[in-house]
């Protein structure tokens, strides 16, 4: 009983600043304190989301799909590399600096190159998304694989376990919590990467922002940004649930 009440109170507590802020903004817009050309009234943003809902929905799905694919690629390559690096120290030392490059490269600068290599449309968007999402997967996976308790490692050694058995029986299960945290971060980043890719490659919410900005439709820009934020929020929510479930099952 009390838990249910607490959740309601929490939700209300979250809503209050949002409602107050939005209400104030609406008021400010109508009173002319804020230049509506630069900062639209919330009602205008909601209005365009409704009026152009077909376009927005399609763009939302487009970006979401690209981000999902990008995340998939990042997870596949990141996970594989984490496993390889955990097994071979010299491979790790040789290749890790290149992996680090993906963490530090400003994808906005690289995006035009992606178009040259992958062409316009989804391939570039997915590539951009994957580049940005890749490193947290690798870092989380590697940290997780290394987080196996030393005493358990000793135990495995005591019974003469092979590297493979240690990997499967100990390292991988130990890695799950940190790996999933990496995935959660990667999921959010995959969306950002997709948006950047869309600026140069076309499609999705990125395109909506591009066109809206060109047409000086600040309400539409905000609408698209809002949807992109929602997408990111959903991704984090889903991954957070997975993380919680895994933590409960595995510890």
């Amino acid at each position: 009983m009390r838990e249910g009440r607490t959740t309601i109170v929490h939700t209300l507590a979250l809503m209050v600043p949002f409602l107050v802020g939005t209400g104030f903004l609406e008021l400010a817009s109508r009173a002319g304190w804020v230049e509506s050309y630069l900062l639209p009234a919330p009602s205008a943003v909601v209005g365009t989301l409704w009026t152009d809902r077909v376009e927005f929905l399609a763009a939302f799905q487009d970006t979401g799909y690209s981000a999902l694919l990008g995340l998939g690629v990042a997870v596949a390559i990141g996970t594989l590399l984490a496993l390889v690096f955990s097994l071979s120290e010299w491979l790790e030392r040789a290749l890790y600096p290149y992996a680090l490059f993906f963490q530090t490269v400003p994808v906005v600068a690289v995006a035009p190159l992606l178009v040259i290599w992958f062409g316009f449309g989804r391939p570039t968007v997915v590539a951009s998304s994957a580049i940005v999402a890749f490193f947290p997967v690798l870092a989380g996976g590697l940290a997780g694989l290394r987080s196996a308790e030393p005493s358990l490692m000793d135990l495995f050694r005591l019974y003469g376990a092979s590297r493979g058995r240690v990997l499967v029986g100990l390292r991988i299960p130990s890695a799950v919590p940190q790996y999933l945290t990496g995935l959660r971060i990667a999921a959010g980043l995959a969306i950002v990467g997709a948006l950047v890719g869309e600026f140069v490659g076309g499609g999705g919410l990125g395109s909506v922002v591009d066109v809206a900005k060109t047409q000086q439709r600040v309400d539409k820009v905000f609408g698209a940004v809002l949807l992109a934020t929602l997408l990111g929020f959903l991704a984090t929510l889903v991954m957070g649930r997975v993380e919680t479930w895994a933590r409960r099952r595995l510890s």
């Binding site: 050309y37 035009p112 922002v209 591009d210 900005k213």
Partner: protein, 312 residues
């Protein structure tokens, strides 16, 4: 770049406060002969002579000039006439003062190998066309040459893909990108967009209406200086080209010279000989407003007279 401009756009949304000592003139691209008269005005001390301290701010892909004017981040901005009309339709009171390009040098660049003879060919065949999506020009061309067979892709500046890929076409200025492509050895054909009937003033210097009303003498002084700059630049572009060349190393000196020459008929016309450099007519603005309404980029009428001011 677009992400940067989006960020800037959002950050400046809460209005401007500071009144700087320098007047800012923000360009919507990197320094090129398109802006030669401005740098020349600076060089020959035209601003100083009018007791003005002016800072020329170069731009790049996606520089949000209308938004910067709205936020008070710049006093004078350079943008296209279509952008001025759109801004007015969105509630931003912008007034144009000086139109460098009397006719639009916008073109669609394609590779000669395609064998296209008209703009219609470009839109009627498969391939890729990089164009600023949602812009008035793009919407006009898409409407005029419907059904569009070519795949429209985002345009982010530069000519690299054009040089690499035969099936790639892109927007560009006949006074700039076309020459660059030629210099890089590509066989490129340029179709003037104005041939399709869409011919807005470009490289237009504009201010906020309230700024104009508050500082009429200052604005007039600025225009006098700009005029002097352009007259001087048209006579001899070389010194200003040198200055701009240092600011924009992506274009070599020879191309700078050629561009300055090729752009003259776009700047000096029968109209400017009569009414002066940069002058504008209400008929041109009226046509533009009608065209923007036709492609539905604006949904309300904008008074053509309100778009510009002729100051003496």
């Amino acid at each position: 770049m677009k992400l940067f401009s989006l960020g800037l756009f959002l950050v400046t949304s809460l209005g401007a406060f500071a009144a700087p000592s320098d007047l800012r003139l923000t360009l919507n691209w990197k320094p090129e002969p398109e802006f030669g008269g401005f740098y020349e005005a600076e060089r020959i001390g035209a601003f100083q002579a009018e007791k003005l301290a002016v800072k020329i701010q170069p731009g790049g892909a996606g520089t949000p000039v209308p938004q910067m004017l709205a936020a008070g981040q710049t006093e004078f901005g350079v943008l296209g006439a279509d952008e001025v009309v759109t801004a007015r339709a969105r509630g931003l009171d912008l007034v144009s003062l000086f139109a460098v390009y009397q006719s639009s040098p916008h073109g669609i660049l394609v590779r000669e190998e395609r064998g296209f003879k008209t703009l219609a060919d470009v839109f009627g065949h498969e391939g890729q066309l990089a164009i600023q999506r949602g812009s008035a020009m793009a919407l006009w061309l898409e409407k005029k040459y419907a059904p569009v067979k070519v795949k429209l892709v985002p345009f982010t500046g530069g000519i690299a893909p054009l040089l690499k890929d035969v099936n790639y076409a892109q927007q560009g200025f006949v006074t700039s990108e076309s020459l660059l492509a030629k210099r890089q050895g590509a066989a490129v054909r340029t179709f003037l967009v104005s041939d399709s009937g869409f011919d807005p003033y470009l490289a237009v210097v504009a201010v906020r209406g309230d700024y104009l009303r508050k500082n009429p003498e200052l604005v007039k002084a600025m225009l006098r200086a700009l005029n002097k700059g352009w007259v001087s630049y048209l006579k001899d572009p070389a010194p200003a080209n040198l200055i701009m060349g240092k600011l924009n190393p992506t274009i070599d000196a020879a191309t700078f010279a050629e561009s300055a020459k090729v752009q003259i008929p776009f700047i000096e016309t029968a109209a400017t000989k009569k009414s002066g450099l940069g002058s504008m007519t209400v008929e041109r603005w009226r046509t533009l407003v009608e065209q923007l309404r036709a492609v539905k980029i604006i949904d309300k009428d904008v008074s053509p007279e309100s778009c510009f001011a002729t100051l003496k």
